[in-house]
Symmetry: C2
Subunit: 385 residues, 2 copies
């Protein structure tokens, strides 16, 4: 296959070349355990320190507020379990939405069997949380509010500032947890200033290595460990630190944030062009992603076709896309996100997520749309263009 157009960047990204060679170097030269007292340990510890400064700097945090984890899933689990366990007095009520990533949704489903009352708020048809509904749910018993900053399937961006304001007005003690895995490196976020208490980010979504993530924990917020042991990460997250991975994550963040504005502009233009081309050339589809969604994600539902069939036709032409999120794509169930947004049945099974990165070009998009023009009429139930 000659051409490779990778439009599944919300599932995972190709690491930057600089990141890959940096990790390679560290594997060869700086293989010490950061807890060791000798030079090889200290060298490794310095690498961790640099990475922590880079991640902290990217979000206006101080290094002590950054805890490295094995990825976004662990960061979300640690945020929720860790906060609730360390703050048992703060109430047994939780608010989240029905369109969270499984690493939040499944934690709350579990907790709802363990004595917590969890409100899973449905979003509006744009995938945005209903602020009146939120307001009506907050009580003095509310311990935690978890939101997906940018939805991984649709790119919908939640109104974080408004959520924080409402929460502060009604229950200043409730904590705000943001799953920022799809937002980080794409939108500038300063969790400290924004009133976010806990924020999860992931490395492999920003051209860093897999197996790395971080949790921002605002100074003063108490967390209980979920992994116990040697007391690494300021006693909160035990386990020998993945020095090459964490370092690669730090460098990926550095590179990503250097170009965050340019990339955002470039991808906004690219996404607009994609939508324009669809309008010109395709019929019977719905753009699921709303107007203000992340420029990195475009979810389009094509009427009367099976998204999997389209996916496989696209990959024959070297174009890689996703139906819904990667996590659930193998399960062959309709997207919980699109269902919660009340997308009509004739569209929901034909939803494709195109997700971009700074590596994506306008030519990639043009090629993709011409492939769609070619494929769609042949695979539609009714045979329509």
């Amino acid at each position: 296959m000659d051409r490779e157009i990778y439009l599944d960047n919300a599932a995972t990204t190709r690491a930057y070349d600089e990141v890959i060679s940096y990790m390679n170097d560290i594997n060869i030269k700086y293989y010490g355990n950061p807890s060791s007292m000798h030079t090889k340990g200290i060298e490794a510890e310095k690498l961790l320190k640099l990475a922590r400064e880079r991640i902290a700097g990217s979000m206006g945090a101080v290094p002590g507020e950054i805890y490295f984890t094995s990825g976004g899933t662990e960061a979300n689990n640690m945020a929720i379990f860790g906060y609730l366990e360390a703050n048992r007095h703060s109430g047994k009520h939780i608010i989240t939405t029905a369109v969270e990533h499984p690493s939040v949704l499944e934690v709350y489903k579990y907790l709802s069997k363990k004595g917590y009352t969890v409100d899973f708020i449905n979003p509006d048809s744009q995938g945005i949380i209903d602020l009146n509904m939120l307001e009506s749910k907050i009580t003095s018993e509310t311990a935690l509010i978890s939101l997906l900053y940018v939805n991984n399937e649709t790119g919908a961006v939640q109104p974080v500032q408004e959520v924080v304001e409402i929460k502060n007005r009604l229950n200043r003690n409730a904590a705000i947890h943001m799953d920022a895995v799809q937002a980080y490196g794409k939108i500038r976020i300063n969790p400290g200033k924004s009133g976010i208490d806990l924020m999860s980010v992931s490395s492999h979504k920003i051209h860093g290595p897999k197996g790395c993530g971080a949790l921002f924990v605002r100074n003063g917020i108490k967390l209980q460990s979920i992994l116990f042991g040697g007391g690494q990460e300021n006693k909160l997250r035990s386990g020998t630190e993945n020095v090459p991975g964490i370092s690669g994550f730090g460098l990926a963040s550095e590179i990503t944030f250097r170009n965050i504005n340019e990339n955002s502009q470039k991808l906004s233009a690219l996404k607009s062009r994609f939508i324009e081309l669809l309008e010109e050339k395709i019929q019977d589809y719905r753009v699921i992603s709303n107007e203000n969604s992340s420029p990195y994600i475009l979810n389009v539902a094509f009427k009367n076709l099976k998204a999997e069939v389209l996916l496989h036709h696209l990959e024959e032409r070297g174009i890689f896309v996703s139906t819904g999120s990667a996590c659930s794509s193998r399960r062959n169930t309709s997207s919980h996100v699109l269902k919660a947004m009340a997308v009509e049945p004739c569209y929901i099974d034909g939803a494709i997520r195109f997700s971009f990165s700074s590596f994506t070009s306008i030519e990639d998009i043009e090629y993709t749309v011409s492939a769609l023009v070619d494929i769609i009429p042949r695979i539609r139930y009714g045979g329509k263009k």
Copy 2:
């Protein structure tokens, strides 16, 4: 520094060159998310499958019994929390030893505040569990017995077969969990045949990458997840799989097991030579590691000196060692392992762990002992040789 003699392999190892270049290749070519439905996902999934077969094959297990984790610490936490949560009916009593790794010890300290009764059995002066004591502790309420297969500070090997037999005689329903992080790749272990139910292993101790480990879960043993989300690892361990890391772990295992017997023989000879040279040239020391301990670890306590001082003098000569384990070395407290073995106070602060790998040579050992001969008289409290 010209010479580099790395004798801290129990803390972490240098990855094999083949492993580093394999991971590099995967980062470049096979960056897909294994959950994606397209070719790039399937390629990544195939890599996971190969790694799982390699790890399973190394211990006579079937691939479905292997669950990848972010390392040994997570594997231990998942084994203990996951087993107890999924088997709440099986009793609230646990048996372990006082010489476990912190990733087991700290879990049990936590659980002992959460309604579990945990017996931390002291070992004998050789660091071996007292089987009579074990026998006296097992009741019908015993849910889990956790043991460190090879002690990370002393190399002491626990009598696993005897423990399993005693357990089976007194309470067949109790489960056996082995922390095999320092044993794996050094001793041949077939957990299935040995009656082990749960076994934790780590990648970076066998020249694989950091940030990877695995838990063997015997077929039929029920475990509750400790990380919830996308349902990876057969729904037990969520989070996008660290494909390059896991693949590197698989290859490291393959290489390690190919030479396991030769390496064991080589290191036994090397360790004997080390002890011989000490006998010839050094006075007032105690070999803490017992006669049957792992050939990969030699713990020696030098009388009337501070191990840290010796460590720093050694590193000036390019020799890297450890005082106790890496995890606790920064804490400046005496080793809990040596204390539990009742090592005398005049020795305990002078304990150095030399830990070897297949990269270690006899010349390295000879050079190290001549360095010891030079340094020790100058740093002893009394000035003795």
